[in-house]
């Protein structure tokens, strides 16, 4: 047997998208239903337009969301924790830039016990002062630790340089900010944004269809509309005039780097093709940045690039941590790789590997109901449907290296990038 000959590869030319239903509760709340798989589990994801974009004071979206588990008019924080835990459920709350909400993970046989409380925390939260003090303190202590991490600082200084403090994508939190919000602020934010007009639900797992009826008994409530829909807000950005930002840390043995600039987001027609270019550049383990800076030079444990997309904007970010002595050398290599993408067409063999890798990744992104629900969520936020996945596969299969060369010249320019270093 000749072991140097690879087995034949079967290409992924098309995919069968998983089935899902879109139904509406009595009050109009859309519910995406993915009923599949082999395990009797349920994941209920509740997404409210209550993210950082909608806050008028730093931290409101985050703390209001975190405090949903800290007390309602009927149950205190301990009772809420006891109830979710007793039935073996996990409830993760979290606030992003656009949406905020909760994800409930439960065994199918237990989920009915949890629906009343799940509804209650979104409709009757009361934000007790004592619990607020504890949560704010814990968050602040956590931030103090993060502020000692070079990678955290580099990312924070980077987004702040791109957008400035006036914009939610660039705004950074200082320890004293925790003292500037009150439980009254939280209550106001909660009442304004957590309501049925502002909600989308994704339910995935394996369950009896009647579960949707029981979900409707609570979340379909018609007396739960907000005063007004979430307003369409815009913010001015104040990018830094300086491209280079360095924070020296005498005691550090490594420096954290964050490089990049504002760019397009998922809504832009170039974004699909750009995701192929990014994969070549720094988007997977075999990327040029990884091959050069980790696998050839040994400067770092890892280096990645990504086109970060948010509903109201986007940027490219290249991030790594490297030995202090090779900080400049790493910077030079990043510039070299960008220049190479702008001047030389990508070799067909290299592009083929990227295309095949990305096709496999698309297949993995829809494998199983829970994984598919994550992918679907990423589409819903942009008002896209699953045809986007087919479009992505088609783009990946068809894009030519000439087009990628053009895109590199349009979207990658080392000289115009912010270069933020810490350490």
């Amino acid at each position: 047997m000749n072991r140097s000959i690879a087995p034949e590869i079967k290409l992924i030319e098309s995919i069968d998208l998983p089935q899902y239903d879109l139904v509406h509760l009595d009050n109009g709340v859309p519910v995406y239903v993915i009923n599949a798989g082999d395990q009797d589990v349920v994941k209920i994801e509740l997404m409210f337009k209550a993210g950082k974009w909608f806050e008028d004071k730093n931290l409101l979206a985050d703390i209001a969301n975190r405090m949903l588990r800290e007390g309602t008019s009927k149950h205190n924080a301990k009772q809420i924790a006891d109830e979710f835990d007793f039935y073996g459920a996990n409830i993760n709350t979290g606030a992003g830039f656009e949406t905020a909400g909760a994800v409930l993970y439960s065994l199918t046989k237990q989920v009915d016990h949890l629906l009343p409380l799940l509804f209650e925390i979104f409709t009757e939260s009361v934000f007790p002062q004592k619990e607020f003090d504890t949560i704010a303190n814990n968050r602040k202590q956590h931030l103090l630790v993060d502020l000692k991490k070079n990678d955290f600082l580099a990312n924070r200084n980077f987004v702040n340089a791109l957008y400035g403090q006036t914009h939610p994508y660039g705004r950074v939190t200082e320890p004293e900010d925790f003292g500037k919000i009150s439980t009254a602020d939280l209550t106001t934010f909660f009442k304004k944004y957590y309501n049925s007009d502002n909600l989308i639900i994704i339910i995935s797992g394996r369950f009896d269809e009647s579960l949707i009826k029981r979900l409707n008994l609570f979340f379909g409530n018609k007396d739960w509309k907000g005063d007004m829909p979430a307003p369409d807000i815009t913010y001015p950005s104040h990018p830094s005039a300086e491209l280079i930002h360095h924070t020296e840390k005498a005691e550090s043995v490594q420096s954290a780097l964050a490089l990049g600039n504002l760019s397009i987001n998922k809504k832009h027609p170039d974004f699909l093709k750009l995701s192929v270019l990014n994969t070549v550049f720094g988007g997977y383990f075999g990327s040029r940045l990884m091959s050069n800076i980790r696998e050839e030079k040994g400067y770092t444990y890892g280096i990645y690039s990504s086109f970060v997309s948010y509903p109201h904007g986007g940027f490219i970010e290249i991030a790594t941590e490297v030995g202090k002595d090779v900080r400049q050398a790493t910077m030079d290599e990043i510039g070299y790789e960008i220049n190479r993408l702008r001047t030389e067409p990508i070799d067909e063999e290299e592009l083929k590997v990227v295309k095949n890798y990305m096709s496999g990744k698309i297949l993995r992104s829809i494998d199983g109901p829970l994984k598919f629900s994550e992918t679907l969520k990423g589409l819903i936020i942009y008002n896209q449907d699953t045809s986007y996945i087919q479009q992505l596969l088609k783009t990946v299969r068809e894009v030519k290296s000439g087009e990628l060369l053009e895109l590199a010249n349009k979207y990658l320019d080392f000289d115009k990038m912010y270069k933020v270093t810490v350490g």
């Binding site: 047997m1 082999d38 589990v41 619990e131 303190n137 202590q141 075999g286 590997v353 199983g368």
Partner: protein, 412 residues
């Protein structure tokens, strides 16, 4: 319930097949029964460095990752105290690519000096990134060294010090490979949209001719029973004081393991858990606190770690944890609390099964422990734990002379 079939090749390679028709993917998981506990005291971190080296080309294939990515796959690996585990996930119809790649690197490596040098640099940067240039980064080094005086668990998987990684020579890599990376010391699990016949044929074709190695005889010195309380105090550039209490606990296969794990859940799983409720919420002594177990083949550690609020003295923090643990040793656990942690663990186990890679890893791990079917009896073992068993475990573990305390203080 994870259904599976199993067979063994003539060279001793154990193969387990788990069929799942609901996925279009396949997971290929190879567990090698070697970890940092097999290292020499002067060459710590070696098993993990070697894991990196496994991606640097094998006898007939210059590099591991690219052909797998070309087949639409993704792969990674991890090293623990006891095992080194490699996995590939790829479209099931490209399954053979994973067999080709994995078998070639089990047959023999390229052993190139240049790639060893590069991976040493990469691992040194990994060491710096996670254990030096990081607040509290050296905590695990300190806990291991304090808790184990004889057993190789006294150094962490990444290695005791950078110099050990720097000094590695090629001959050690060759010796290590031909001793531990042999088919008779490995478990291959194939899970997903695959058939046993197909896997059998591929296993024979690609792995069948790889020669077996000598049987592994381990003489790992076991840690003697600890008879004195150990306390270490360090000062570092961190913003918040922290405390770590590492108690000796049983080995993974010990019959007290499941009760010990549930005891950990009672202390620390979920917002309703005792540590969080009493010490963060009620007494407000800590900003965060939790417990975890090391889950090792030889006797392990039950660790409680907390970050102190600014007003809490380190003595007060220690006292509060000890008081809480003493309370568990004095009273019976009530039925509601016991039912809660059982419900929690059951949900955790079932959610774990939603992912084929997890299923594959679990089958491999339980085969390493002695029986792959063990994974299918885990839930019933947890459900059969009684309050009395939990109580007994708590009494055995939470003793001062069984404890290693690290007081990690801010020097500012």
């Amino acid at each position: 319930m994870i259904q599976f079939e199993q067979f063994t090749l003539k060279n001793g390679l154990k193969v387990i097949v788990h069929h799942d028709a609901t996925t279009s993917m396949a997971a290929v998981n190879i567990l090698y029964k070697v970890g940092s506990r097999d290292e020499k005291a002067e060459q710590t971190g070696f098993a993990h460095l070697f894991e990196h080296f496994m991606f640097e080309g094998s006898e007939s294939i210059p590099e591991f990752d690219t052909p797998l990515q070309n087949a639409g796959g993704e792969n990674n690996a991890f090293t623990s105290n006891d095992i080194t585990n490699y996995y590939d996930i790829l479209p099931a119809n490209n399954l053979e690519t994973a067999f080709w790649l994995e078998s070639d690197r089990m047959l023999s490596l390229a052993f190139e000096e240049e790639s060893l040098a590069t991976q040493k640099s990469v691992v040194i940067e990994e060491f710096k990134e996670h254990y030096i240039n990081q607040p509290y980064g050296d905590v695990w080094h300190k806990i291991c060294a304090l808790s184990y005086k004889v057993h190789p668990y006294q150094w962490p998987v990444i290695g005791k010090e950078l110099s050990h990684v720097e000094q590695v020579q090629m001959q050690s890599a060759k010796d290590f490979f031909f001793k531990y990376y042999r088919p008779n010391n490995a478990v291959l699990v194939v899970a997903g949209n695959v058939k046993t016949d197909e896997v059998k044929q591929l296993a024979e074709k690609w792995f069948g001719e790889i020669p077996a190695g000598e049987p592994i005889v381990r003489n790992i010195p076991q840690e003697p029973v600890q008879n004195e309380e150990r306390v270490l105090e360090v000062k570092a550039d961190v913003p918040v004081n922290a405390i770590y209490k590492a108690y000796k606990m049983c080995a993974r296969k010990d019959e007290a393991f499941h009760a010990t794990d549930l005891l950990r859940d009672i202390l620390s799983t979920g917002d309703s858990s005792r540590l969080y409720q009493q010490l963060v919420k009620e007494k407000r002594l800590f900003s965060s606190i939790g417990a975890y177990i090391s889950e090792t083949v030889d006797a392990g550690l039950f660790v409680i770690e907390g970050k102190l609020n600014a007003e809490t003295s380190i003595d007060k923090a220690n006292e509060a944890i000890e008081e809480m643990l003493a309370q568990i040793t004095k009273e019976q656990i009530d039925e509601t609390e016991l039912t809660k942690v059982k419900n929690k663990i059951e949900a955790y186990m079932v959610f774990g099964e939603t992912n084929i890679l997890n299923r594959a890893m679990n089958l491999a791990y339980f085969e390493m422990l002695g029986n792959p079917d063990g994974i299918n009896h885990e839930i019933e073992k947890y459900l059969s734990v009684t309050g009395e068993m939990l109580h007994q475990v708590a009494v055995n573990i939470f003793r001062k002379e069984n404890c290693n305390t690290l007081r990690y203080l801010s020097k500012n």
